[in-house]
Amino acid sequence: MITVYVPGDSAARSVGADTVAAHLVAGAAARGHDVRLVRNGSRGMLWLEPFVEVDVNGTRFGYGPVSSDDVDSLLDAGILEGAHHPLAHGNVDQIEWLARQQRVTFARVGVIDPLSLADYEAHGGLAGLRHALTMADDDVVAEVLASGLRGRGGAGFPAGIKWRTVLEAQSDQKYVCCNADEGDSGTFADRMLMEGDPFTLLEGMTIAGLAVGATQGYVYLRSEYPDAITRLNEAIDIARANGWLGNDVLGSGRVFDIEVREGAGSYVCGEETAMLESLEGRRGMVRPKPPVPALQGLFGKPTVINNVLTLASVPMVLADGAAAYQALGTGRSRGTQVFQLAGNIARGGIVETAFGVSLSELVNDFGAGTRSGRSVRAVQVGGPLGAYLRADSLDVAMDYEALADVGAMLGHGGIVVFDDTVDMAQQARFAMEFCAVESCGKCTPCRIGSRRGVEVIDRVIAGVDREANLMLLDDLCTLMTDGSLCAMGGLTPLPVRSALRQWPEDFGGNP
């Protein structure tokens, strides 16, 4: 029996993995081979998708990108024995692109069968939860605090402090909410983790829930990720059936359960308070803070809200100890960060590495420049609310503080590359338009400002009262930054202003 891996990850499926898998199974059978097909997650080398792996005596040989047309030639070449082929990449573990990374959160993604609990445990799964169950709740929280784990959703707030607040809050009911509303363009790590290693998220949430005294967890998952929704729900059913979710977590007598709640098409619901409103089944309107959700969150109860990657990092912290996690990273940015290389990039995918790697390294080394082969003109870091950086200013360390120093932000770790055909005035306009489309409509600067922002940029582009409109745009950006209720309106000026400042020529000015 030979095990063949064809990713079931939706990105891989979007470029034909399902057909490849079917052809492979059929072709192998036709050739008399007994093949076991595993639909693993993606290794994150997305430019190689569909990326087929063959397990030959414990070594996994990779081939990609494979189209269904290639299957016969691959089988004929003898890939089931790990043979060479023009699409072959050899021993997957030794592929430099992967070998250079420090896969912690993503350690199992692409490696295991996502829904095999045996695989999961064989690769270290549940060690963190088992350890946590032996500890006092305070100690679990202390461990997370000591690890320096910071929220991966964008704000980078230390997870342990949130947990401590919830732990210390007195309430008959507390919740853990996982923010899986990964709406930033250029980000897909949450999705890949949920599709490729869903148990890790469930384990992290369970540790969080037990530590702070919550009995119910919710995963708020965007509707644009139908595969992730299905996969996570399947994983929850399996976890429940195997006794590590529900009324008696791993025989501890403690209660914790998880439910997936689907979004319905609203970017701003990725903002934590809007997400709470949406989880409560209401309009996704941003709430003012204070009160912080840790004290008055879901249904007014103390609530831990963390991003998928934050919670998925927790099992490792508990399994290997805070010190091991703390040892990774730089400055106040501890642990690893999962970067996502996207857009016009030759080698797009997941790069998990310790904080401190430079943007240039990611774009030029890992990413190998643009997919179009043209020169890089702009890189947007941190999603649609992130700043654009010029190709000549990519020599910046990718950590929270260093990016802040250059007026950018890490956000959810998404990196979108544009080649020299990009019109930065249009990108600035798009930032305002996106805000206008997705604004919840609560605060004035965002609700009316974003609409006016589009109109003002249009006038600038058209050359109408250019100077006056540029001044107005600048005032508007200040108003949105200082005056908006949440980051949606507050950060929209970031891409706008970075484009204006660095590419004035696109706005009819002098370069």
């Binding site: 470029v15 319905a264 098409g265 209401r282 309009r283 996207a342 997705e438």
Partner: protein, 159 residues
């Protein structure tokens, strides 16, 4: 796209009652109705309000907030093209243009043969753009000719 049940208030009651015991149930109930019937029939609003003990106005507020929810019957097919930055950087604009041309409608409209063309902001396929969700299936590395082929196959499916 899977066939939806034709609207029926009795069946809607069954769907809504199933959701009634869930926490914070309004949105998920509307989603369940849309899942069943392809849309949220206006007559469902008072039903949802009554069953969940909220006001009709609140249900209306939720129904009009979320872009996923619709109040008229579902199209035969839905083509949702990602127009966010990552896909823009690899030419989603041209894909959109071609789709509009093929369907004879602008983004946000329904073609005469009941194919909806919608924009979507990010499908999580950002390294393999341009991406689109066609009847719930994610497609990557799209080119203008490919979207034209996709639309043609949808049409032949309907025909």
């Amino acid at each position: 796209m899977s066939a939806f049940a034709p609207w029926s208030i009795e069946q809607a009651e069954v769907v809504v009652n199933k959701c009634a015991s869930r926490t914070g149930p309004v949105l998920l109930t509307l989603q369940a109705l849309q899942c069943e019937f392809g849309y949220v029939h206006p007559d469902a609003v008072p039903l949802v309000a009554r069953t969940l003990n909220v006001s009709r106005a609140e249900v209306h507020g939720v129904l009009t907030y979320y872009h996923d929810l619709r109040t008229s019957p579902a199209p035969a097919h839905a083509v949702r093209i990602c127009v966010a930055e990552a896909c823009q950087s690899v030419g989603s604009g041209a894909v959109v243009q071609r789709a509009e041309g093929e369907l004879g409608v602008s983004m946000g409209e329904r073609s005469v043969d009941a194919i909806d063309l919608e924009s979507v902001y990010c499908l999580g396929d950002c390294a393999l753009g341009p991406a689109a969700l066609v009847d719930g299936q994610l497609l990557g590395r799209l080119s203008p000719p490919q979207i034209a082929a996709v639309i043609a196959s949808l049409r032949s499916e309907s025909a």
